[in-house]
Amino acid sequence: MADKDFLVFIEQRQGVIKKASLEVLSEAIRQNKDKNGTVTAVLICADSTLLVKNITCFQPNKVIVISGHEYSEYSTESYANALQTVVEKLNPKYTFAANTAMGKDLIPRVAAHFTSPCVTDVVELIAEGSNLLAVKPMYSAKSYGKFAFNSDMSFMTLRPNVFPLAEKNESASVPVETLSCPPIEVRAKVVETKASEKQKMELTEAPIIVSGGRGIKGPENWAMLQDLCDVLGAALGASRAVVDAGWIDHQHQVGQTGKTVSPQLYIACGISGAIQHLAGMNSSKNIVAINNNPDAPIFKLATYGLVGDVFEIVPKLTEEIKKLKGES
């Protein structure tokens, strides 16, 4: 019964499955509960041997694996070709993926191949009869749009960190099918991947982010924020002002022309809270602002606002959390 089935694209890079795509799988299974369709996870990779268990433990109805050396690096064309083969075969009503660099690159392309609609960066799914409505931020998160599909086949990418992971069942038995698909000529290929040396954790996936703005005075003071990141297990973010000033790479920028994040906790240090910065972080669950200007706009949004000097507060905060973690 294709008219209610879900297909979830599981993203891996270098043999590591993206947590965000397991969140998507969890959500698809939740949405399918009352629909009684099937949820199929599709994994495209070089070698699936060690990976499949990470998927089956979430208990989709089936896992489809397409593997081969041609999938060792992501390429739009080869991955699109593989995903299209699966979509053609299963004819799913909804195809989901995580809203990551790969998801955003792949899913609209496959959707267009089938002349089907796609909504990206979905933060909420609403069941309406047998259909799903998709909610996504628009106008730089200054408003939210609710979308309805009028199509037998629809595609969506779901924002990381928004949909909770389901409980795992390590002993679940789920059928795994391997599929081969016709080879194609790939015109654009990844020839090299350069890991960025600074960022230990990806911003869009981090549960906690510590962000610095012009208030930290200079690039020599990242070390102070990095210390706080380390005790919290947080990723380091930045405002555009300091990226433009060359204090840090654009990878770290949060905001309208940077990344959109929604961590459990966002700590803004010496950031004024310009509307373009807020656009990237205003869906964070908890926001802490540390700023010496009591009138800084960031305080309007902050769950907890501390008026004070970052150079005084941040090191104390690091110490206090270190103490706490030492105790527990």
């Binding site: 106008y139 730089s140 990844v190 507060i313």
Partner: protein, 260 residues
């Protein structure tokens, strides 16, 4: 090198968004329209490629009356000609239909390169460049921070999570610009004056040959309702000496927010 740059006219990013009474549009009275921020990087990259390799740049924008000023401004930055895709049928298009119109304007015109922004303000879709590439059956590289062209070959660097990917391929191809790609130059008064004389060609659905295709795809996904972001409950200020503030904060993060 023949380059198309897709340019979206969007409300100024400083605009306070208010929702119109129909609940699916924003209030447009008094809104100033600008070039979508990422499209500025796409325009600059096109100009840089032309400076190096020669060629021609055509700016293409789909939209209503707000497009004219934005295209004039882009012409001043170095486009040779501009195309305005304008039709009542084009109101509120989804990304599939928008890309369908843009692809129709690009197809069969011997373009080597299409440059877009990686995301257009408003829809915030990150879709149009990719769909254009699929419809033209070209390759694509999204979120690029570097682009080198050598004859018919390209090498592009794109931003992914925690890394950069270097992608090599052959033209024609579609690229979408990430912020680090370049530093846009602003036009001089002289260039702005000169741009006033450059022509903007208008094409409608009929002349693009997309009437049936757009009618078919237009309603595949529709915006049902626009709403304001859930209001954040007014937070609290934590007072006291730095020591007291920190102690209180840690306590709240642990006991109330339960995040540490």
């Amino acid at each position: 090198m023949k380059i198309a740059v897709c340019i979206k006219a969007v409300p100024d990013t400083e605009t306070k968004i208010a929702i119109a009474s129909d609940k699916i549009h924003i209030e447009t009275a008094g809104v100033k329209y600008i070039t979508s921020p990422y499209d500025e990087f796409a325009i600059e990259e096109a100009v840089k490629i032309k400076e190096k390799h020669g060629g021609e740049i055509v700016g293409i924008s789909l939209g209503g009356a707000e497009v004219t000023e934005v295209l004039k401004n882009s012409l001043a930055r170095g486009l040779d000609t501009a195309l305005h895709l304008k039709d009542d049928l084009f109101a509120d298009l989804n990304p599939l239909s928008t890309a369908g119109c843009l692809a129709a304007a690009i197809r069969n015109e011997n373009f080597d390169i299409v440059l877009c922004g990686q995301q257009g303000v408003g829809g915030d879709n990150n879709q149009v460049p990719t769909i254009i590439a699929e419809l033209l059956n070209w390759s694509q590289v999204n979120q690029i921070v570097k682009l080198d062209i050598e004859g018919k070959e390209f090498k592009a660097e794109r931003e992914i999570e925690g890394a950069h990917e270097i992608v090599a391929g052959v033209l024609p191809a579609v690229f979408s610009a990430q912020k680090d790609l370049n530093t846009p130059r602003y036009p001089s008064i002289k260039e702005i004056m000169a741009a006033k004389r450059k022509e903007i060609t208008i094409k409608d659905a009929e002349s693009l040959g997309v009437k049936d295709a757009i009618t078919k795809t237009k309603d595949l996904v529709v915006l049902k309702e626009l709403s304001m972001p859930p209001a954040r409950t007014q937070g609290r200020k934590i007072e006291g000496s730095a020591d007291e503030q920190v102690k209180q904060l840690v306590q709240l993060l642990r006991m109330e927010a339960k995040v540490i």
